[in-house]
């Protein structure tokens, strides 16, 4: 599905967002450049992932994209228009077209609203549907994300993490958006539930022709879900390209270190390397020049003074490093799980087949349909 002609749906130009801290009587005022000079294009219909370590500015960038935060500098363009200067009517359309799914399924839903009301709210704002039509749509949306429509009059605390994330997704879908920006939508979930929500997001993306901007820190999740990936470090994008290309041969030393640091679920491959020394520097006082130079083993004097810009390399990939060409040669091969033994492979395929068979047998075994919080035999 790569490389087909896609136009740009969402774009940032030299986007910056600062936060000021302190500035009280006894405190010095400091500025955090959470997002600093980001140029990014999101293509219609793609899944673009943004990855990086805690505090690098992923959430800030995501929120600025949908105008949950105002930029400090630069622009965000949706369908070619600057979203900072939209007339009221276009602003309403923007709110309808761009939806946000939050990371924390425990705090992002209003605890005093029923699940039905939570999902219905965008319909009230964005459609002229009457109450009966809205409720019918709510039932349909709940069903679509794997929840029973009869759960509409319950409250968020009665649901598990995975179910709450489904509710957040149903709400985001309600206004029939074009773009969904999802900030760590599966990070708080256990592996087995995470897989259910990933499959759901992928199905919905196809079904509703969505464009997906996905924030995540799990490199395997990104590999699985995204067409392109942007790697952030301290407020900047340091590498961006096709997921296959970036994973196959990461070019920026930070991307390389990130890939080497992932523990792979295969004991024969014990290869995790802690070759990235030191801590992530404070964004309050980021290093000069290349922000990665304090931890980079390829750094030279030039790196500490001159800031590298994103430049095109091979394919459609861009890298912000003075020495990427030289470094490309020292690349270690990509990590991959080895194939399973014949007996184990057989068991995995049995598991897959029997799961499929059970699912087609009836809705009782569909994911997420059982409740934990209430015994519910006759609902």
């Amino acid at each position: 599905m790569k490389h087909f002609a896609q136009d740009t749906i969402l774009e940032t130009r030299s986007l910056g967002r600062n936060f000021t801290r302190g500035g009280g009587l006894f405190q010095q005022r400091t500025v955090v450049r959470a997002v600093d000079g980001v140029d990014l294009t999101v293509r219609r219909g793609e899944t673009l992932a943004i990855v990086g370590e805690s505090g690098c500015g992923k959430s800030t960038l995501a929120r600025t994209l949908v105008r949950l935060l105002e930029p400090t500098s630069g622009q965000v363009l949706y369908e070619g228009s600057d979203i900072a200067h939209l007339a009221a009517r276009s602003m309403r359309k923007l709110r309808k077209d761009l939806q946000f799914v939050f990371q924390d399924p425990f705090s992002s839903l209003n605890p005093r609203m029923t699940v039905g009301a939570i999902v219905e709210e965008p319909l009230t704002i964005h459609t002229r549907d009457g109450k009966p039509a809205r409720q019918q749509k709510v039932a349909g949306l709940l069903q679509r994300v794997g929840l029973r429509p009869s759960m509409a009059d319950r409250y968020p605390h009665e649901f598990s993490g995975g179910q709450r994330q489904r509710i957040g997704i149903a709400r985001a879908l309600a206004s029939e958006p074009k773009v969904i920006v999802a900030d760590e939508p599966v990070s708080a979930l256990d592996v087995s539930v995470q897989a259910q929500v990933i499959n759901l997001l992928e199905d919905l993306k196809t079904e509703f022709s969505l464009t997906l901007v996905l924030i995540a820190h799990d490199l395997a999740v990104i590999r699985h879900m995204s067409d392109r990936v942007a790697v952030m470090y301290l407020g900047e994008i340091v590498e961006i390209g096709d997921t296959e290309t970036v994973y196959g041969a990461p070019r920026h030393p930070y991307t390389q270190a990130l890939m080497r640091a992932i523990p792979v679920p295969a004991p024969g491959l014990r290869s995790m390397q802690a070759d990235l020394p030191g801590d992530i520097p404070s964004p309050l006082n980021p290093p000069s020049g290349c922000r990665f130079h304090t931890r980079c083993r390829h750094a030279d004097a030039n790196c500490g003074t001159k800031r590298p810009a994103l430049e095109p390399t091979e394919g459609l990939r861009e890298v912000a490093c003075h020495h990427w060409q030289k470094i490309a040669a020292s690349l270690s091969p990509q990590k991959q799980e080895p194939p399973r033994s014949a007996a184990a492979a057989k068991r995995f395929s049995l598991y897959r087949e029997w799961s499929r068979k059970n699912k087609s047998k009836g809705p009782s075994s569909a994911p997420g349909v059982t409740t934990t919080q209430r015994k519910d035999n006759n609902a």
Partner: protein
């Protein structure tokens, strides 16, 4: 309970450092045990990983071993724990407190649960040493400095007088490790020590723990939900589901030859770093609550292979190959299950 009935706890030859035999934990008047009869043994210098999803009972099992379980509401509903040939569960509170932080130590997921924000880190480490050793203040402080050095805190001498909030998450976890290892414990229990950290910092901490363990020969019980971390660091693995161990064995056996449907489902749910799959295989439904705990196999409501027997009878851990056990009536699956139609 007679000695040596359980071949795994190895009463015959060299006794293990820690032997847990059928440990059960229950909360208040709950209708079922939250931890329901887990057994394992750990030898000196060995790393056992306990892996399972949130709520399966990893942390409360660890707290029970440390004697830190809040009782009430929790109570030990059965089983035995022997540590260095002492029966831990019948030990008087004073004797247990003496073991804790000395012969056995624990590291938590959130370092701030054990670091006191009001005290300098050097003093906190030194205090832990003074609690168990008859040495001078100055020697204890020297020991604290030595430990900060060992956990590779840069400019350790200057950091001794820092308060916890002045440190990053990764540094705090290093301080926790320094504190836990200051008295050279025989056993270290680490409950998700890297879960709150970024991958590059996690890699540093895991490498540090491996190195220190090789140097000191400490036995390590590492609790995690991350199969990647397990593959990286374990010698032995116990897979927990809803309060029971459903599969256990050497790390290679668990990953190369998984037998229990839950282990297989868990591994299937992981997106791969290699070739992109079209769709992830999942485990349907979710973990039962204590009120809805099945009486037979606890995985039955989510298991694609479930049959009548599974609902009526709980499967016992059975040997699949030397040292590799699985609790499923139908393991190995390939001999019991034909292709689905």
């Amino acid at each position: 309970m007679s000695e040596g009935t359980d071949s795994r706890s190895g009463g015959s030859k060299n006794p293990s450092l820690l032997t847990v035999d059928n440990l059960a934990i229950r909360f208040g008047n709950a209708p079922a045990n939250t931890v329901d009869g887990i057994s394992f043994a750990v030898d000196r210098g060995e790393t056992l990983c306990i892996v399972g999803e949130s709520g399966c009972g990893k942390s409360i099992s660890a707290l029970a071993l440390m004697g830190l379980l809040p009782m009430p509401p929790a109570k030990i509903a059965g089983g035995r724990v022997s540590f260095d040939q002492r029966d831990l569960l019948t030990l008087p509170a004073k004797a247990r407190a003496d073991l804790r932080g000395d012969r056995m130590a624990m590291i938590f997921q959130e370092p701030m649960t054990s670091l006191n924000p009001a005290f300098r880190i050097g003093d906190q480490i030194a205090e832990g040493v003074l609690r168990h050793r008859a040495i001078s203040q100055a020697d204890a402080r020297r020991r604290a400095l030595q430990m900060l050095d060992r956990v590779k805190i840069p400019a350790a001498a200057e950091r001794l007088d820092d308060y916890p909030h002045q440190l990053s998450g990764g540094m705090r976890q290093r301080v926790m490790i320094a504190m836990a290892l200051a008295n050279d414990p025989d056993l270290l229990i680490a409950d998700e020590p890297t879960t709150a950290l970024d991958v590059t910092i996690q890699a540093q901490i895991l490498e540090l723990m491996k190195t220190l363990q090789e140097e000191t020969g400490t036995a390590l019980i590492m609790i995690t939900h991350d199969l990647g971390v397990v593959a990286e660091i374990a010698d032995q693995v116990a897979v927990m589901y809803a309060g029971r161990i459903v599969e256990q064995g050497p790390v290679e056996a668990i990953f190369d030859d998984p037998q229990h449907p839950y282990t297989i489902g868990l591994m299937s749910s992981l997106p791969s770093l290699g070739e992109r799959q079209s769709r992830l295989t999942t485990i349907s439904g979710m973990v039962p609550t204590i009120e809805t705990m099945p009486s037979g196999c606890r995985f039955a409501p989510r298991c694609p292979f479930v049959r009548e027997t599974c609902i009526t009878r709980a499967p016992e851990l059975t040997s699949m190959s030397p040292g590799h056990l699985a609790a499923c009536h139908f393991a190995p699956l390939e001999t019991h299950m034909v292709e689905a139609v």
